[in-house]
């Protein structure tokens, strides 16, 4: 009976140590999900065109959620441009959250617009539908329309040259093979 506190303490300490070790290893902000990309409702800046889910099929799409008032997003723009240059075959789509078209157009001009297509999620429906907690976030969708990679936080050179780049290469090869 008297030994019980000591033993219990050892168990809890061991558990805490294990939790600590695990959290140290788990610093990777990216996560992989194989679910199909949902049919979101976003429109172009002028409101005239709507996002077509079918457009995802047949090509590798990299979707970046950002906003003009978000500082890390501005810092990320050159990296996205570099990504586009590195992989010319991908489609880079930008979805702005909680923003307005006029400010966005100005901001994109000032920061260099890397996107092939630009969309606006004014009310957050797409953001919520994708379970996004913060921006910037980048989602990689393969040629069948399935989500293959999610990066929460800005794209850095390190990540781009690391697993992110490798994944895109593989997905492009997959897409080509399917054709």
């Amino acid at each position: 009976m008297r030994r019980f506190p000591f033993l219990l303490f050892m168990v809890i300490s061991a558990a805490l140590a294990a939790m600590l070790l695990q959290s140290a290893r788990d610093k990777n902000p990216a996560s992989i999900a194989n679910a199909p990309f949902p049919a979101i409702t976003v429109a172009s800046f002028d409101g005239k065109t709507s996002w077509q889910p079918e457009a995802l099929k047949g090509r590798v799409t990299v979707i970046n959620f950002y906003a003009s008032w978000c500082t890390p997003c501005a810092a990320e723009m050159p990296e996205l441009a570099a990504l586009k240059k590195q992989f010319p075959k991908i489609h880079l789509a930008g979805i702005a959250w909680n923003d307005d078209p006029k400010t966005l157009t100005k901001w994109l001009k000032a920061n260099g617009n890397p996107f092939h297509s630009s969309w606006l999620d004014a009310k957050g429906d797409a953001t919520i539908d994708l379970g996004i907690k913060g921006i910037p976030e980048t989602i990689v969708v393969d040629a069948t329309g399935a989500i293959r990679f999610r990066l929460a936080g800005p794209l850095t050179e390190e990540v781009r040259n690391g697993e992110f780049g490798t994944l895109i290469t593989n997905l492009l090869a997959e897409a080509k093979g399917a054709q």
Binding site: F6, F9, S13, A15, L16, L20, Q22
Partner: protein
Amino acid sequence: MIPELGQLCLVLALLVSLMQAGVPLLNRFNRPHGLLHLTKPAATAMFLLISGAFAALIFSYITSDFSVLNVIQNSHSSKPMLYKIVGAWGNHEGSMLLWMWVLATCGFLVAMLPTNEKELRATTLAVLGLISAGLLAFIIFTSNPFLRVFPSPLDGEDLNPLLQDIGLAFHPPTLYVGYVGYGIVFAYAIAGMLRGRIDSAWARAVHPWILLPWVFLTLGIGAGSWWAYRELGWGGWWFWDPVENVSLLPWLIGTALLHSNMVLEKRGQLGRWVALLAILAFTLSLIGTFIVRSGLLTSVHSFASDPERGTFILLYIFITSGLAFLVYEFADMKASKPVALLSRSGFILINNLLLFVAAAVVLLAILYPLALELLKLPSISVGPSYFNATFLPITAALPILAALAPLMAWDQTTPNQLRTLVGKLFPALGAALLITLALFKPEGALLGIGMGMAVWLAYGSVIYIRRMRAARVRLFSLIGMRHIASATAHVGFAIFILGIALTATLKQTYELPMNAKAPMVMGDYSLRLIAAERTTQDNYISRRATLEVSHHGQVITTLTPELRFFTVRNMQTAEAALHSTLLRDIYILLGESTYANKNEDSQLGMRMYVTPGQQFIWIGFIMAAMGGGLAMLVALRRLGEK
């Protein structure tokens, strides 16, 4: 130069603490009296050295010495002086140094205060030396506030704006006295176990040190809750956030400890249990410190999310508490008379059981999500509804016991006597319940129960004081003061319960967009917008609305809620406007439209909370702390007594 001096003080202190621990503990087998001669000067030297180190750090902040890494990371030349100083401990390294300073100060006081138990004290100081040595090693080698950067940058990085509040000046130091204070009790417990005696004399010597951290934890938690209420902008004061919970753990065990220590002092019973609680209180303080600084949990409280530091702290806890539990296992302590269930001692034992289970539940709630992650299971959130279902019912029994116990005999009360007591208190409870049910129909039940418990406890305390007067005990004698202290704390608890019952059931919330043309009507209140302005301050842009508040047509006050946008950190905070009276709080917040470009003015909206009974919660905290403080003074006064 100054930072180097600070560094030197730390290193010297480490050496002194090793001496303070090593020499007496080694010496004890040769010349028992050798202990006494060394520990006092050693403790004094520790206090002076750590004070010097802490002063050096604060000096670096005051002079904005940006060659010191810690100052760069946590200060800015444009920060008001008060917050520059406060920033010294608003970060990991500085706060660890504050921890150390509190420990050194307490050790100094242990050495200086009068005592009849000189050997116990010396052994305790030796144990404290060991505890200090470990902490100092941690500070010097992994969390050194005196690291320098050359060439030094022109300015610092701004401090988190959420922390630029007067509450920050008081909240951490207060809590640290709490956490560290239990370290003193811990040392006393180990010393007592090493000497084979945890008895009435031990209890009397340690009682002031059991009460000191409790009072400060009560105040610290209260201050933190008050800060959260004013700053975090949602009208609540406790969210069962893991970091809040972490401060609650030692408080719960500390409450159990202060009650059972009374049994130990008066009746010589529960010695082993008190020793165990003493070890547990400090262990929980340390684990709390660990959890907050290791990166396991993120919240507004987390300092450095550094697993390496976390490993060091965990190692420290493992060694310190592990050894303590081992000593507990093998200590040879005298037996004592068993406690009878129907007695004051027995009720205190039940109180301890409830507090212990409550603490265990909170600890489980903190660790469970982490454990699930560890086991690769889907992780969860443990929100308020869990605690409402578990913690509340367990602690709800406490006020019931607290009214009865002081009116019972220490050793044995008969069931008839108990029945009589219940009979005395029941009318008060019944009346409160009926009146509440009559006045507040829909919320009646919950509110009625809360009111009933509060009245039950308060009335019980009144009877307690009346009995004391009837027994001709003088109010200003030491015994009398002890009675008043306990009654004050219990009445404080009763008022606290009342506050909780009122705020939980009668709170009203209103939301409206800002209207410049007509008064905004919300229930019995109407608000008129007098002015809306946008100004630039020291380090933020302020958007403020001036509102005239009327109740039933009468103007009661003008309130100015504000939105602050901190440019350097790209963060926005909402400064609520508060109008408090004894009976209710009015709390107004500005919100903004969904599209928010911070550089332009956007559409503003308003949220207003009317919370009856909010002030009772703060009054409860303060009264409980006052009661504990009074009891502590009495215990101090009795230290020199034979």
